[in-house]
Amino acid sequence: MHFNLSEERQMLKDTIDRFLSDHYGKIKNHHENSKLIEGFNPKIWNESSSIGMISGLISPKYKGLGGTGEDIMIIFELIGKYLCVEPFLSTGVMSSTALSSCNINVEQLMDDIISGKKIISFAHSEVESRYDDSYINVKATQKDDFWYINGTKSFVLNGDQASVLLVSARINGDTLDENGIGIFKINSKDYEIRPYNTIDGYRASEITFNNVTASLMCKDEIAYNCILETNYAAALAVSSEAIGIMQKCFDLTVDYLKTRTQFGKTIGSFQALQHRMVDLMIEIEQAKSSVMLAAGTYESEKNIKYRNVSAAKNLIGRVGKLVAEECIQLHGGIGMTWEYNLQNYAKRLIMIDHLMGDSDHHIEKFKKFSKY
């Protein structure tokens, strides 16, 4: 048992840190990114590919250089640190996981992901599905040799830039059935798309399919498993991202407490605030530990893997809220302003609780996989 990074991973981490620092260091405020029409900077995305930041998320089985829980953790913690908006989550984690869970040949698409050539979005959530993995109303029907998709997917991350969509659709059964689901690939752009910025400055779309031709990737148990695997990979990724964000919020707040003076003293000299900072410090270490546990056991059997990721996501939800709210409060007015970068970190941190299941959702999952 040990908790250090291997030499290779430490190198990867340092490289990515420098890379993101070079590119994001110039951006004074995260919301400059969210004004970009594409929702992200294609130049950064392409360069990230060449330094191995995408392949770090993908298993050697698909010519990647990583793809373990630990890799996801390391890379996403840095993504959080810089509030990096490129499609690492949608394409690098979700779609690559979905593809690798379909049990079919996906080598070409994986190559295109690793090389940064293609943005691929995983379109699963619907406006009323909340966090249910099996809630699917979008319909897939087969006519002759072709599949046709009908219905609307919501909250499709980076949907407007995607050249390929992986869509979950119902072949048969009721809305919440775990069976009767298919995962489909759509290459065309024959759908209505309504892109928007999210409140935390990322990019998503609502996509409506009217008899759109699609090819079936997998179905039934494999498809449901594919959704679970994808959502859990994403849950680990955003939990790791949250760690980077929380550390940044904490650091910004410590800096502020040291410089802001009131009543002739730095406000950091007030004991009541000091004690609250210590509480934050403890909770952040706890959250970090929980994510490490999830990442370090990500290659275990599913009950353990899901259980530990759910534990991490639950704790991230609880601690993230505490950190976001306390850091704003401890800043006072300045923490409420658009110009000051804390608000971007705080908003992302809170919105992570709205992605891939909130803390309540994952406490239920934790109980389920712990056989309570």
Partner: protein
């Protein structure tokens, strides 16, 4: 102890409800309900109607145009205007400056300014906070130099709510820097249209413009605009901050928010079960509702004690602290309730006249914004930390 409203109080409530039905324009209440951006005119239309009815200055004595209402009546009134989705009554002239003018203003000032507040001719802004002085108000730096018949004012105020709508601003300024900070402060009434005053927007984390910076560069303020005595401003400033405010706990907002929360929780499904039946989520709602019900009694106990002349200085701090936490908690559960529907941020949705299809039900668009912007409730008007310091000092004599 009697928890029933009297017949007179119930009749008063009816009167308020009926008056609002007839006088609050539907397009304005619709904007408030759907969280659309309000124009200056929207506020003024409603306030002018209240003024005509004689219901605008609920905290002023009758002789100056106040209502003479009991605290229970004020409570009922405040509850009903929130329920009716009225724009809020802009408090800077009415509830802040007004009482100070009445207590400390000269006869001439009262005769000039009070009617202009009632008629909505003047829109006042508050010039207290500065970039370097938030909690530590007395450390302010804006300076007013005596130039015989006028003061020359230089400095900067901040967090000036709706300052971009205002034509007047009351300011704390330094008129003596060679004494204890509290003893060199004066209270000035300044015309925003004066040369040298500049109002600059501050955009808050929800992307909205409600607060401002106000810069003063060699602004000439006539001596007659000094309120009370020179260097006594700290007394007036404190009077303003501690003056009885029935609404400090924000109970009507919390009550209306939890009703909304319960309503939407019966339409949002989690794993096939409406959230209001979900054991975990419904318990969170229930605990909050219990807290709000207790807070309402706590608030009424305090205001009714105040109306019997018992000084509520410390209690208003307690109400402010807990009231803000509860309001924030309602926003928190609302955001949790809507799950991923909290993500989309379509700014145009809050402009008048936007009529595209929203993403998800119409009400979801505002919820995440409200959650974030309402973090301010525990910060402004003396942060909760400052309130706790005040209570500790006065309650425990520690």
């Amino acid at each position: 102890m009697d928890f029933n409203f009297t017949r007179e109080e119930n009749e008063f409530r009816e009167e308020v409800i009926n008056w609002l039905k007839e006088n609050l324009p539907h397009n304005i209440s619709e904007k408030v309900r759907s969280y659309k951006r309000l124009s200056k005119e929207d506020y003024e239309i409603f306030m002018k109607k209240l003024s005509q009815k004689g219901w605008l200055a609920i905290n002023w004595p009758v002789e100056y145009g106040g209502t003479g209402w009991s605290t229970i009546q004020k409570h009922i009134f405040e509850e009903e205007i929130v329920k009716a989705n009225a724009p809020r009554i802009v408090p800077f002239g009415l509830n802040m400056l007004g009482p100070v003018l009445i207590e400390y203003g000269s006869k001439k000032q009262k005769e000039f300014y009070l009617p202009r507040i009632l008629s909505c001719e003047d829109w006042w802004a508050q010039g207290y906070s500065e970039p370097g002085s938030g909690s530590d108000l007395a450390s302010l730096k804006t300076i007013a130099i005596d130039k015989g018949d006028h003061y020359l004012v230089n400095g900067q105020k901040t967090w000036t709510t709706l300052g971009h709508f205002a034509n007047k601003i009351f300011c704390l300024v330094k008129t003596n820097t060679k004494c204890k900070p509290q003893e060199g402060i004066s209270f000035l009434l300044i015309d925003i249209k004066s040369s040298g005053v500049e109002v600059k927007p501050i955009i808050t984390l929800d992307g909205e413009h409600e607060v401002n910076e106000v810069w003063f560069t060699d602004v000439k303020v006539p001596k007659e605009n000094l309120l009370g005595e020179e260097n006594k401003g700290w007394t007036y400033a404190k009077y303003l901050l501690t003056h009885e405010r029935t609404g400090i706990a924000g109970v009507p907002y919390s009550k209306s928010a939890i009703e909304h929360l319960k309503k939407i929780s019966s339409t949002i499904y989690n794993n096939g079960i409406p959230l209001i039946k979900d054991p975990i989520f419904s318990s969170q709602i229930a605990e909050l509702e219990i807290d709000i019900n207790a807070m309402e009694i706590f608030n009424l106990r305090t205001v009714s004690a105040a109306s019997e002349g018992k000084a509520p200085a410390m209690e208003s701090s307690l109400l402010k602290i807990k009231g803000s936490i509860i309001r924030q908690k309602t926003c928190d559960l609302l955001r949790k309730a809507i799950g991923p529907m909290a993500l989309p941020y379509i700014s145009e949705q809050f402009d008048e006249g936007w009529n595209e299809e929203p993403i998800g039900p119409e009400y979801v668009g505002k919820i995440a914004k409200q959650y974030f912007i309402n973090r301010k409730i525990s910060i402004y008007g003396g942060s909760n930390e400052i309130q706790k310091n005040i209570v500790a000092k006065s309650a425990f004599k520690l």
